[in-house]
């Protein structure tokens, strides 16, 4: 880790072997190695103990991501635009827009609360992966996009769908396995998609979507209409081949791409600290010659500012950016019961205190843009939307068995 000054401009760079979070201002760089890493003893009550990992140092440093500056830039010294500070304040967002973001976040949460309970009630099949706790990432990134921009999602896809503007009714109908669902019941939670709005699908293969959306980015570049494409993926996916192949191709071809790593510090039951030697995935950007940004993924304004800069870069032909959003999932990896979860109750509770929705609500209240009554009304509307979606799904017919043979080949 080296820190220096290039001319009068603040500059911070990460170097091999260290990394960590670094403020963009160069004042008092804080280096943390895997903050929030649980000690892997204990367990959440529902989880069984996992043997300690391979004798590798388990760092429990609690240097957090609160406070300001909340966004940290790595390896951005060369890019003046990006190296300016990203803060936890709304930039170019009207109160209405900010409220809309809050509402979207709450919609994701309420949608998934319902999906989870309907899953446990046997009305939704297979598996459901909840995004609860990570809502600021999808909403923050999608707020920086325009119609015509395309995104791709992961197995944990409801949040991305809703943030990109998908119809709750058709989403819920898909989860219910109905003919009126987005995929006519052929996809379910892991394959929810709405190509009309540029949501190229949840994907059941970890890192499986990164290449596809990079192809959408290539198409956008060839079109020359200033459209861009965004790949969402997890910390787990960042260790898979397609991450590397696509970042390299996008960098070499200057594709209008934004790669958003949702680092919730776990891939299913495996902690990122066991599979990454470095805490920051964004530190890999430098190797491809592109900016890597680390941002507090529970701060929707910071996320959207980071995204806006990356989107601007992409739209103006400067090429891809890697944004790493540090966040956390509140629920187990999937809603299936009986799966171990090695995270501690304490860690989960800590993160619940950083609830991105509560935070945004607090900011809106502080601005005077929202009262408690407004919030209650908003939540009531959101709940009504979810109810309507459920009612629609429940009233929709199942596909007919013979529909299984449809949609095989396009005409």
């Amino acid at each position: 880790m080296a820190e220096g000054t290039l001319g009068s401009r603040a500059c911070v760079v990460t170097a091999g072997g260290v990394g960590g979070f670094v403020t963009a201002r160069g004042d008092g760089a804080r280096v943390s190695k895997f903050p929030h890493l649980p000690d892997r003893k204990g367990g959440t009550g529902r989880a069984v103990e996992r043997p300690p990992a391979r004798g590798r140092r388990v760092l429990t440093s609690k240097v957090g991501m609160d406070g300001i500056p909340v966004a940290k830039l790595a390896a951005l010294a060369h890019d003046e635009n990006l190296a300016t500070e990203i803060g936890s304040t709304p930039v170019n967002l009207s109160p209405d827009e900010q409220r809309a973001m809050l509402r979207q976040m709450q919609t994701i949460r309420r949608f998934e609360e319902r999906a989870s309970s309907d899953y446990h009630a046997g009305k939704i099949y297979g598996v459901v992966h909840c995004y609860i706790g990570e809502e600021a990432v999808a909403v923050g990134v999608c707020a920086a996009l325009q119609q015509g921009d395309q995104i791709i999602s992961t197995h944990r896809g409801h949040g991305h769908c809703i943030a990109k503007g998908a119809d709750l009714k058709r989403m819920m109908a898909e989860l219910y396995g109905r003919q009126t669902g987005y995929c006519k019941g052929k996809g379910g939670s892991m394959h929810i998609a709405d190509f009309e709005i540029g949501m190229l699908g949840a994907n059941g293969i970890v890192a499986g979507g990164i290449s596809i959306v990079t192809g959408a980015g290539l198409a956008a570049q060839m079109d020359g209409k200033g459209r861009i494409a965004v790949s969402f993926f997890g910390d787990g996916a960042s260790n898979a081949g397609p991450f590397h192949e696509c970042l390299n191709i996008a960098a070499a071809w200057k594709l209008p791409m934004v790669y958003v790593c949702e680092n919730n510090m776990y891939a299913a039951q495996t902690a990122a600290a066991e599979t990454h030697a470095m805490p920051d995935v964004a530190g890999r950007a430098a190797g491809y010659g592109i900016p890597g940004i680390v941002v507090d993924g529970n701060d929707v304004f910071a996320v959207t500012q980071a995204a806006a800069r990356a989107v601007a870069r992409a739209r103006t032909g400067e090429g891809p950016t890697l944004i790493e959003c540090k966040t956390y999932r509140w629920r187990a990896h999937t809603e299936r019961i009986g799966q171990p979860d090695f995270r501690t109750e304490e860690e989960i509770e800590d993160w619940k205190k950083k609830d991105p929705i509560v935070r945004l609500l607090g900011q809106l209240k502080a601005q005077g843009a929202m009262t408690d009554a407004d919030w209650q009304a908003m939540d009531g509307e959101v709940l009504a939307d979810i109810e309507a979606a459920v009612a629609y799904a429940a009233a929709s017919p199942f596909p007919k068995p013979e529909h299984a043979l449809e949609d095989m080949y396009a005409a």
Binding site: V48, E49, R50, P51, P52, A53, R54, G55, Y125, G126, V127, G177, R178, C183, G185, K186, G187, G188, M190, H191, N203, G204, I205, V206, A207, G208, G236, A237, N239, A240, G241, A267, A268, Q269, T270, E274, T275, H276, P340, F398, P399, K400, P401, E402, H403, A404, L405, M408
Partner: protein, 332 residues
């Protein structure tokens, strides 16, 4: 005999072998807790999600004196590792003139019924059958799984253990103590004289159910479970067909160039067996589509006891005498 689930029998085979042989180690993106607890994180390794590299790492470790087990979990995750499977694992012994042995065991869950849709439900073992250099099996009972896994772990070649999602929680008798089941030996799960049903995995149980049903209709069904896909026990299959004169193949996979096609070919290319065939070969397989999510759709895609029974009736019908009795092959 004590009863274990299919999943338990698999874990027991691995734990027993690992206790005896310190060169065995296990890798998976999320390994079973019981294995991690017993053997620790050096021998049971949670890995990054990089099945491609890990499949190759297993090959390299095998060539250096270890006996790695790489658990891909759902078979659909193995496709990211296909280069290492096809171009490396299957070829490395032969291509280098047999310089080293590469004892690797790969595990993969196959099959539907889980409502997990196209990217988690698939039965692509036939794709691997067309390769030269791997051994493959797909057991239908806890007992068979345990015995085959033990043989595979001790085998000096790369072996893939395909394990059925639908059977994971199914219980069955498992003998005490150490036993193995040799790769390449079919098991006649039920004897019969009118029709041979060659079935694998879950469909063995569906075939047995169909056989029980048809007993009441006066049709005697023999159920042959090859258990191992490569090498396939053509001898047992053919001799069963020579006895019954009729063949139905039941497979949870689609038919095209699949296991079912291979069995059909093995029987019809063998002159002695072909000569005894009194009815067209019948394949009862999944519909030729990716696996859909909605239960209505998924259940329609897969074959089951009903379709097997209907298929058996059809095969028998094709050679039913004018008097309505089932003709034996000799009368045909």
């Amino acid at each position: 005999m004590r009863e274990l689930t299919y999943a338990q029998a698999g874990l027991e085979a691995i734990a027993e072998e690992m206790r005896k042989d310190p060169t065995i180690f296990y890798m998976s993106t999320d390994p079973a807790l019981s294995l991690m607890q017993e053997f620790g994180a050096k021998r049971v390794r949670p890995t990054p999600i990089a099945e491609g590299a890990l499949t190759g790492i297993a090959i390299g470790a095998a060539g250096s004196g270890y006996r790695p087990i790489m658990d891909w979990r759902q078979v659909t995750f193995s496709f990211v590792a296909m280069d290492q499977i096809v171009n490396q694992a299957a070829k490395i012994h032969y291509m280098f003139g047999g310089q080293r042995t590469f004892p690797v065991l790969y595990r993969a869950n196959v099959g539907g019924g889980t409502r997990l849709a196209a990217q988690h439900c698939q039965c692509p073992y036939s794709m691997f059958m067309n390769l030269s250099g791997l051994k493959l099996f797909l057991p239908s009972t806890p007992r068979d799984l345990k015995g085959l896994l033990k043989s595979a772990i001790r085998d000096n070649n790369p072996v893939i253990s395909f394990e059925s999602n639908r059977l994971l929680t199914m219980k069955g008798p498992v003998p005490d103590g150490d036993y193995t089941i040799a790769l390449g030996e079919a098991d006649i799960k039920r004897e019969g004289s009118d029709v041979t049903v060659v079935a694998i995995a879950w469909l063995v149980h569906e075939a047995l159910a169909a056989a029980a049903l048809l007993e009441g209709e006066g049709i005697s069904v023999e159920v042959v479970d090859p258990r191992t896909l490569v090498p396939l026990d053509a001898k047992t299959i053919r001799s069963s067909v020579r006895k019954t004169g009729r063949l139905l193949i039941a497979d949870e996979a689609g038919p095209t160039a699949g296991f079912s096609a291979e069995v059909a070919a093995l029987v019809t290319e063998d002159p002695a067996t072909f000569a005894t065939l009194t009815a067209p070969v019948k394949r009862v397989c999944a519909l030729n589509v990716p696996i859909p999510y909605s239960p209505v759709l998924e259940d329609h895609v897969f074959p089951d006891r009903k379709r097997i029974a209907a298929g058996i009736r059809e095969v028998v019908e094709a050679t039913r005498g004018a008097d309505g009795g089932v003709r034996g092959r000799r009368e045909a």
